[in-house]
């Protein structure tokens, strides 16, 4: 069959093209290593935080301010650097180079003293509230002397509090870029440390406790989530961008015309191109799974379902590429159109970050992306080993493969080039 002849020819031609091999295999691999390291590593993310402690006496930080900094460190969320109290934060930022995100936590002078005083006030307030609650709800069941004693105690405490309740809460200040996504996370962590401190200072024990459990029975790594996304994305870009530019280049340099003058049928030319992309997709998958396994410890297991899905995905995206190259004449335009289609499909698909991080309307849009269905189905099969959950993804890709293969055959010109 002539499609096999074309497949062999294109594969040989591709294997001998350093640029082709780089962009089809090595570049995706490079991105896998970079993204895998950034998003898929075992270590949790740490946020840099400058702490400027003004609560210093005799050259030493007060015990409470020191304990607060240690509590921040114990969250394992921060890379803390202490900043001398005489440094002006605005000047400090001005003299820094680079585009790193800066966060400053400022502990005010008198933090310990005010916190301790405030804790006494708060404790007294709680006692007073408790006495009022007892009088209001249980006063009717008490004898006269008990009620008088409690009311007297309440009045005495209230009078004393009115005289002494001037202590303000010490205010810890967090200075950070409000537009940075990480700021909300940092705020949350600092807020929970402040809350824990508030409770400890008044000697309160937890009224409500909280614990979290892993949803999966097995412990999945971030790289387990991302690997199918990377595979799906790069099969898509190779198909849509790679095939479009290659085919338009073949048309520009006369190879398509030369072949169209032989008995080679248009159908065989298209199938040969799709077969070559499928081979490329497989090669890419094998290498990425291997690298994911060796470097990131990913436990992806390609089985017969995964192989069928990868074939379907390769056919889908290369047929989209063939369809585009069917009506785009110019190589530069083909690359531009390919990129304009491929990159939104890729970034909106949730391949590089979970869809939950995106706004709700974009999440709805993402579910129309064939890349979303591809990587989602691939993840279900290769990682979670639930092929039954991949049926929708399979069906979407298979339908698109049929539609676009027919469109490619219809739109590709084999005459009057």
């Amino acid at each position: 069959m002539n499609a096999i002849v074309i497949f062999k020819t294109l594969t040989k031609n591709w294997l001998r093209s350093p640029t082709g091999v780089f962009f089809s295999i090595l570049f995706p691999l490079m991105l896998l290593l970079i993204f895998g390291t950034v998003f898929g590593g075992e270590e949790s993310t740490k946020y840099s935080l400058y702490v400027q402690n003004h609560d210093v006496h005799g050259g030493n930080a007060t015990n409470l301010s020191r304990a607060f900094i240690e509590a921040l460190e114990s969250t394992n969320s921060f890379e803390i650097s202490e900043l001398d109290k005489d440094v002006n934060v605005s000047d400090f930022i001005k003299h820094q180079s680079g585009i790193a995100s800066y966060r400053f936590l400022i502990i005010p002078d008198g933090f310990e003293e005010h916190a301790l005083n405030r804790s006494i006030t708060v404790r007294n307030g709680i006692i007073l509230d408790t006495l009022i609650y007892i009088i209001d709800n249980y006063g009717a069941y008490m004898n006269q002397s008990e009620l008088e004693n409690i009311t007297m105690g309440k009045d005495a405490l209230s009078a004393w509090m009115n005289q002494t309740n001037t202590t303000k809460s010490p205010e810890i200040l967090l200075i950070a870029d409000e537009n940075a996504q990480s700021t909300q996370i940092v705020k949350g962590i600092v807020y929970s440390v402040v809350n824990a401190f508030n409770s400890k200072l008044i000697g309160a024990s937890d009224t409500i406790t909280f614990k979290s459990e892993n949803l999966q029975q097995r412990q999945w790594k971030a790289a387990d989530y991302y690997l199918p996304g990377y595979i799906a994305s790069f099969i898509m870009t190779n198909g849509i961008v790679g095939i479009t530019t290659t085919i338009t280049e073949f048309r520009r340099n006369g190879i398509v015309k030369r072949l169209s003058a032989t008995p080679l049928k248009k159908r065989d030319w298209i199938l040969g191109c799709i077969l070559q992309q499928t081979f490329l997709g497989f090669t890419l998958t094998v290498i990425m799974v291997g690298v994911g396994w060796v470097i990131f410890g990913v436990r992806a297991i390609p089985d017969i379902y995964a192989i069928c899905l990868i074939i379907t995905g390769c056919v889908t995206f290369s047929s989209i590429g063939m369809t585009i190259s069917g009506f785009v004449k110019d190589v530069e335009a083909a690359a531009g159109i390919g990129n304009a289609i491929a990159y939104p499909l890729m970034f909106l698909s949730g391949a590089f970050w979970p869809l939950d991080l995106m706004p709700a309307y974009l999440q709805s849009v993402a579910k129309f992306s064939p890349v979303y269905h591809f990587h989602d189905a691939l993840r279900e099969i290769m990682i979670y080993q639930h092929p039954e959950n991949a049926i929708t993804g399979f069906a979407v890709l298979a339908l698109l493969a049929v539609v676009f293969t027919c469109a490619a055959i219809k739109l590709t010109k084999w005459k009057d080039l």
């Binding site: 040989k12 001998r16 006369g254 015309k257 030369r258 003058a261 032989t262 005459k415």
Partner: protein, 283 residues
């Protein structure tokens, strides 16, 4: 003689542009038939219609007795083609490129014979991109003949080649004619048409302005034999004998004498009143 190509009232439009304007000609088995004319005259369009890669707007086109459009698949199996600005897979070797076409045609025979015939055997493992222009054209011809076609379409096979590579290509074309192939050639080089062709059709603005055997065309439209003395034209003569006599007389008078034979350049100049430069443009 058997007609292998028959063209009657062929017309081809590109939008509003009439690229081929009601042309008719026949090509006979075993001859070299050349369509000669400047760039944009309609040579390639006509050739590509015969090669079944373009659709005619109107007219009757028959190749090997089969009709275009209609019998394209059958025709393609029996013809060989080198398109204009021929190219092949750059990173494939000479042998791999020729083998590709052989495989498409289902040729079982060893391709070595063809590589040797075109002088490519020594270079069989060289990548196509590393070859000289002349060698690339030979690869193109080899790809065209590997299916042992009855008609070979060579669309400007020597354009852009240096004189030596051009002469090498001419030798190959002559060799192919000797082997019994019918050759349909296009060129803008009048010298090439004159030296290689049995018959020539001169095409201009989509119309055939003259057609016939080279000798007949030159006799009819060449303007005769020119006798010069220095830069000065002494006379034009219908026959070589008369011109030679005139030149001899000048020589006997101790004058410079040169006799110039009419050529296809003169035919074109006399019919179109323009010349064609090296790049195929009208002057």
């Amino acid at each position: 003689m058997k007609k292998v190509i028959e063209v009657e009232h062929l017309v081809k439009f590109y939008g509003n542009l009439r690229a081929v304007n009601d042309i008719s000609f026949d090509v006979y088995a075993g001859e070299i038939f050349t369509l000669v004319g400047p760039n944009g005259a309609g040579k390639t369009t006509t050739t590509e219609i015969l090669e079944c890669i373009k659709t005619p707007t109107s007219g009757i086109v028959k190749v090997l007795g089969m009709t275009v459009p209609g019998d394209e698949e059958k025709i393609k199996r029996r013809i060989g083609v080198i398109p204009q600005e021929f190219n092949a897979f750059e990173r494939l070797t000479v042998r791999e490129n020729v083998k590709l076409i052989a495989d498409i045609y289902g040729v079982k025979e060893d391709i070595r014979r063809y590589l040797e015939m075109l002088g490519l055997w020594e270079s069989r493992d060289k990548k196509f991109r590393t070859l000289s222009g002349g060698m690339k054209r030979r690869v193109g011809i080899c790809m065209a003949v590997v299916s042992n076609p009855e008609i070979l379409f060579l669309d400007e096979p020597t354009t852009g080649l240096d004189p030596e590579a051009r002469r090498e290509t001419w030798d190959v074309i002559r060799k192919l004619k000797k082997s019994g192939k019918t050759i349909f050639l296009t060129t803008h080089y009048m010298e090439e048409a004159e030296k290689l062709s049995d018959r020539v059709a001169m095409i201009m603005n989509g119309r055939i302005v003259a057609i016939g055997k080279v000798k007949e065309l030159i006799e009819k439209h060449g303007g005769g034999f020119k006798v010069l003395s220095g830069e000065k034209v002494i006379g034009m003569f219908a026959t070589r004998r008369e011109a030679a006599r005139c030149a001899l007389q000048l020589y006997e008078q101790d004058k410079e004498a040169e006799m110039i034979e009419p050529s296809m350049d003169d035919v074109f100049l006399n019919l179109v009143h323009k010349k064609i430069n090296e790049r195929g443009e009208l002057l």
